[in-house]
Symmetry: D5
Subunit: 96 residues, 10 copies
Amino acid sequence: MLFQVRMDVKIPLDMPAEKANEIKAVEKAYSQDLQRQGKWRHIWRITGQYSNISIFDVESNEELHTILQGLPLYPYMNIEVMALNRHPSAIREDDS
Amino acid sequence: MLFQVRMDVKIPLDMPAEKANEIKAVEKAYSQDLQRQGKWRHIWRITGQYSNISIFDVESNEELHTILQGLPLYPYMNIEVMALNRHPSAIREDDS
Amino acid sequence: MLFQVRMDVKIPLDMPAEKANEIKAVEKAYSQDLQRQGKWRHIWRITGQYSNISIFDVESNEELHTILQGLPLYPYMNIEVMALNRHPSAIREDDS
Amino acid sequence: MLFQVRMDVKIPLDMPAEKANEIKAVEKAYSQDLQRQGKWRHIWRITGQYSNISIFDVESNEELHTILQGLPLYPYMNIEVMALNRHPSAIREDDS
Amino acid sequence: MLFQVRMDVKIPLDMPAEKANEIKAVEKAYSQDLQRQGKWRHIWRITGQYSNISIFDVESNEELHTILQGLPLYPYMNIEVMALNRHPSAIREDDS
Amino acid sequence: MLFQVRMDVKIPLDMPAEKANEIKAVEKAYSQDLQRQGKWRHIWRITGQYSNISIFDVESNEELHTILQGLPLYPYMNIEVMALNRHPSAIREDDS
Amino acid sequence: MLFQVRMDVKIPLDMPAEKANEIKAVEKAYSQDLQRQGKWRHIWRITGQYSNISIFDVESNEELHTILQGLPLYPYMNIEVMALNRHPSAIREDDS
Amino acid sequence: MLFQVRMDVKIPLDMPAEKANEIKAVEKAYSQDLQRQGKWRHIWRITGQYSNISIFDVESNEELHTILQGLPLYPYMNIEVMALNRHPSAIREDDS
Amino acid sequence: MLFQVRMDVKIPLDMPAEKANEIKAVEKAYSQDLQRQGKWRHIWRITGQYSNISIFDVESNEELHTILQGLPLYPYMNIEVMALNRHPSAIREDDS
Amino acid sequence: MLFQVRMDVKIPLDMPAEKANEIKAVEKAYSQDLQRQGKWRHIWRITGQYSNISIFDVESNEELHTILQGLPLYPYMNIEVMALNRHPSAIREDDS
């Protein structure tokens, strides 16, 4: 099942750069692992923002929630979830 | 270059069903042609809405505008455009 | 899978009462059939509004979209969908 | 009498984890006690959010206010209340 | 139980004055009858608007909904309901 | 002259409970004194919120501003003022 | 007593120009009469809008409501009222 | 040229009263000097708010910006600027 | 003096194409004439919208209002005006 | 390709003036260098705000993102990006 998720990141200005970089590195590995599993189907940066638009393909709402709650940057994010369907005009088989 | 586009369709309640269906058929063909060209990369239905979330991959803002303005349903749509970038954590080569 | 759906109904002021009542009767039967199937788990009226808050329990986003699009009042509704999960503090087994 | 309540929790980033966990444990017990009494009828997590959608069945606005004000997480919550009615199309006897 | 209700009236510009006046007269009688019963406790005009702020004292959400739905101007109104409680600092006995 | 005032209180989380209670006690006395004078006509708690809806009956905008600015909780409040009139359908003599 | 009033005018596109001009002429006379009486203290056009910002100096909320409701363009306006006070830093005696 | 400016002041709760009073005194002198020069034509307090509505009469956008940026309370203000014109119905010669 | 103006055009769906084209042709000539005079400094299409972002360089708010009110599409536009200044970091002499 | 970017700057009130001035000086040099390269085509101050409206002419969304992310004031800014096209009515050759 497909979901669009928008994540806006606000790291506190007073977080030491070292700690921020550490969290970001863990975040990147976490995201790439899920991408390899096919659960985090797409991730794009929003131009000019510390934000991304992502497409998830998961078994259930529960799985999506568990993934999002596990994000290392979760405490510093604002997250919006939107349920998606295959579009009747889509020609890609794998965009169901 | 990548853009996310959200299209919300509001066909007037008094448009004859025949005319509406005709426009939708042309719209579908128009969309699928652009999908085959690789310019309209993804299209998903928003659950519960007569709306879609699409990803376009175009040469320029001008090309995107021309494509959108040419949509048969354009006069009945509200459209929002958001510029996207490849995300530094993305692992898909073709999601640049 | 659980979803909250809010439906706000705006029937045009110039629709003949007879036609409106007919649509509402079909809507009621449609809703009650889905309630009996366990897919439309709850439906409450919002006090003072021609609106309801409903909880759906469906197999997928696709099933939810098909149900909503099939509502006889669909052309006259504004619909908002929100994905829900079982809450870790919930004690009801059937509220998963 | 039925009410929908949405609770969005924002625990300050600098609250020690131990204190946060303690409050959450008391919150859970408080919620489950009210669920057992039948006053807190439903509680669902909003996917991707530290938020819930709950349905309360109380004697009066006063009882609802007392319950909400007594939430251990109350100082860290944004709360929205919406009065609900039994819906004329509902088939569940206990959803009045 | 107390509720604040805000009603914003938008009568269509093309409704004949005679019909509008007739509806308003019935509305006035309807409101005054409920005021005499003590259910419609207060009604104030919002300065400069075709809107009112009212306080209702009813047995239940259901009773409030029935009253509002019965308003002759109901099809032309936007209505917002807000549950109220007696305030701990209030000194009026009858403002419970 | 009548005004509706909505007050939303946000006491900083780090204010010592003792200080907060002291301010609230002075606030209560301040409010009750004005209620006895007939200037603060009504005060209701908004269900689930640390907020109130109040009706003031004052000589002028100046008097209302002076009263509001004198509230002990004023530095911690968000305040909205709305001018009201006697409603042509009102039957209470003292609601002018 | 002083009030700021913002008026946004939306004359229906299908109103005959003759009728619109007639209403506007009556509106102008109505406004200028109140300006001469000192009740409509200021009126400015908002640049680029069919809107004005006005300052009224009236005896009461009631008087303001009566004036606004009497505007010939009232059925085609959106109106916002904001209560004002003399500012402690003002040096103009007549801006009280 | 005329502009309406709305200024909303938010002095941090932890600023020492002495410092706040000092800034306010300089602000008052600054404002009154500009009032005497005829550049700050009007200033009104918004009832119940630490906010003002002002009318400026300046040579250019640049002059307005310089004046606003020079306000002693500028770092603690939210400012909104709206360009105004003489209204065709205005009868005051000096309200051009 | 510089102003940014955003114009969003909504031509009614039932306006005959011929009439719409005629208005657009006059609009184009009107705009180009002002561009040649240097008063309409820039005009850009917003991608995907029937909207433009323009920069005007005028003598006064009055001149801007007269220009905007004279737009052939003015009755079908929503217009927003924002006063601009030369930026202290700008290097273009003609962007003052 | 053209983009409008709005930047709203919020430097924390407790940043030492020396540090703030240093950042601003680097920001100015950074901006002027990009202006000389023709990538940052225009920059205007919004009257009364610590904000600017800028027009960028870049090769791609990626280039725009890199430029914006490199702004010395980036951590203290809110940024909005809007894709622009040459307007069919534009007469300036270099405004494509």
